[in-house]
Amino acid sequence: MMRIPFAAAVGLVLTALYFLAALLAPLIAPYGMAEIVGGVWEPSSAAHWLGTDNIGRDLLTRLIYGGRTTIFIATAATVLSFTTGAILGFLAAVLGGWADQVMSRAIDLLMSIPTLIFALVVLSVMPVTVPMLILVMGLLDSTRVYRLARAVAVDINVMDYVEAAKLRGEGRGWIIFREILPNALSPLIAEMGMRFIFMVLFVSTLSFLGLGVQPPAADWGGIVKENKDGIVYGIPAALLPALAIATLAISVNLVADWVLNRTTSLKGGRG
């Protein structure tokens, strides 16, 4: 049987831990999310493993709930950006000509505006709710996915096997989902690992700037914002979310690399 390489195993365990913690947050968090349980910035103790935050809430609890929000939003936005981006990109490659030109130039137009500024402008006029955050982040990011998907699909579209399918009389659906998609999967998966992390950073940035997840709900960017003043006094509370993001980033990409290696094999190695 297939042995899981050490690096991938580490990645799998850590990623699973993060996602489990996110799913089971209400069960494993020692206190309530917004419950004030101690003094301001208490150091770590048996009661509060990571200490307390700027208004006396348990920091571990906040991190667990924050992870739940952050990971949920990032996952949903990644799924949205990949479905829209990949389908539109494949379609542009298969249709070619005018349709491709119109779509690609429209995407170029969107990409010419810095993403963060674009998101800030949109979110300052729209109500900042979780579905709105996911929609804005997902659609803005799908421009990147579109370009990758289109570039990959253009190459695949000229292969003889796609021509053979066209000569057989196959419709666009079969060509996109059965001929192109399976062959474009490897670069897309590699990109997905990275895009997910960008999403985590993106939602954290928005929250830090006050236009993301709204208090009292916790998220990693928000925790940094709330505790940033503590750094002056040597309180490490604001650095813990950074550590969480870093470990999550590495472990997710270890898993993505491993999946990538397996999908690259053309000899039926796909699980």
Partner: protein, 545 residues
Amino acid sequence: MTDALLDVRNLKIGATAYPPGEPPQEIEIVHGVSFTLEKGRVLGLIGESGAGKSTIGLAALGYGRGGVKITGGEVWINGRDILKGGIRRLRDLRGAEVTYVAQSAAAAFNPAKKLMEQVTEAAIHHKKFSKAEAEARAVALFGKLGLPDPETFGQRYPHQVSGGQLQRAMTALALCPEPDLVIFDEPTTALDVTTQIDVLAAIKEAIHDTGVAALYITHDLAVVAQVADDIMVLRHGNKVEYGTTDQIINAPQEQYTRELVSVRSIQHEEKLPSPDPVLKVDRVTARYAGTGFDVLKDISVALHPGQTLAVVGESGSGKSTLARAITGLLPPTDGSITFDGRTLSPTLAGRSREDLRELQMIYQMADVAMNPRQTVGTIIGRPLEFYFGLKGREKRARIQELLDQIELGEGFIDRYPAELSGGQKQRVCIARALAAKPKMIICDEVTSALDPLVADGILKLLLALQKREGVAYLFITHDLATVRAIADSIAVMYRGKVVRYGSKTEVLSPPFDDYTDLLLSSVPEMKLGWLEEVIAHRKMESAGN
């Protein structure tokens, strides 16, 4: 120590294999091969792909390509073992004592530098000649190799000369530093037959005049018979037979060598045309969008049911474009295509599913003609499902039946294309075309990427299937031996026009037009001295004019 220039003793070469899902394995790809080469002699290394011939050739430079390692044995050149002494000694050797001519000159030349700079580089670098001397030598070599304007030829960039000229420039590059040994790695394989003969004659003359020794690697026995003094036949990294060219061609000892020599001896009785052709191409003219140049000019040919029409010509003659016009991928600007009595829509979108089903296509490169992510079962099963609505057990039974027809048997249905050999891949493509129960199949150079013996098997299979299923073939090829083996009628194409068209006997019997004569006389024959005969004949003719 012998006085041989090159003495290879018990050479073993290994590589690392990466089977999916298992740890990497060390495998041996050349199992103890020995041979010697004396000054001024030419040794031909011949075998099918994977025989290890290029690997052995590169080992004479002390080089292993892409993770290939020399694991044992000795390679003596000029009385010293080049495998001992490290990279510095190898650097002195390469490009000075031993030089290399690659298969694809177009890929081997740096497109950003002028030819002269590249041809003289090794000679100057190794301080064999000064810049002026090296350039004088290069000009002399250009002249000897029959390149136009030898004085100024070196001032051109690689893209400014033709493929045949570039291959000759590469030979000049290899001969410029006055090496003792030149390794020719399939130098004419990528060229058209009409170009190949010139390059071959130029190489042979250059070898003869400079007195250099050469290793000539090729898969084409007829080609190597023209240039080599001795031939070594290789298979799966083992020496099969080693002897003089005369002995190998005229009195082969081993079964495998005999097969190689007698390849393409398929006999095919020409069939008479019937009154109703299955395909009628009438005065078709076509051009690619955005160009003002007709790639097909006024083409009229017909194909009769159960017969084979061979379309021959060199690259760029428009034969594959003709296939694209017939399939509807390139709508003709003028003329009509009649299929089975009905006029076909010029565009793919305008054709009915029945039109598409009855006209199938097989490609040159089976590798890219099959989706690498689909199993053989899916690849062959899709047309069954698509055209006939077959499902489940019924479909699987029919797939197995088709697999039996292409002689692949059990156990292939769940394999991926990457798990098949080149010949097996092409067979699966044939099965995919057959699955649609077509009236006609377009075969676009289906055997040119295959080894001779494998290609032979594919041709025999196609003929057997034609007999049983009554399917007609439009067979596009540049290989006249294939044409002789399978065609009922022939169309010779040159620069977008059909220059000669008729039944096989008509086309292949004199009087010939100039182009057909050139094409026919350029096909290497499996006999000694053929090259000299043709060249002498051509010289006589041009002198007579």
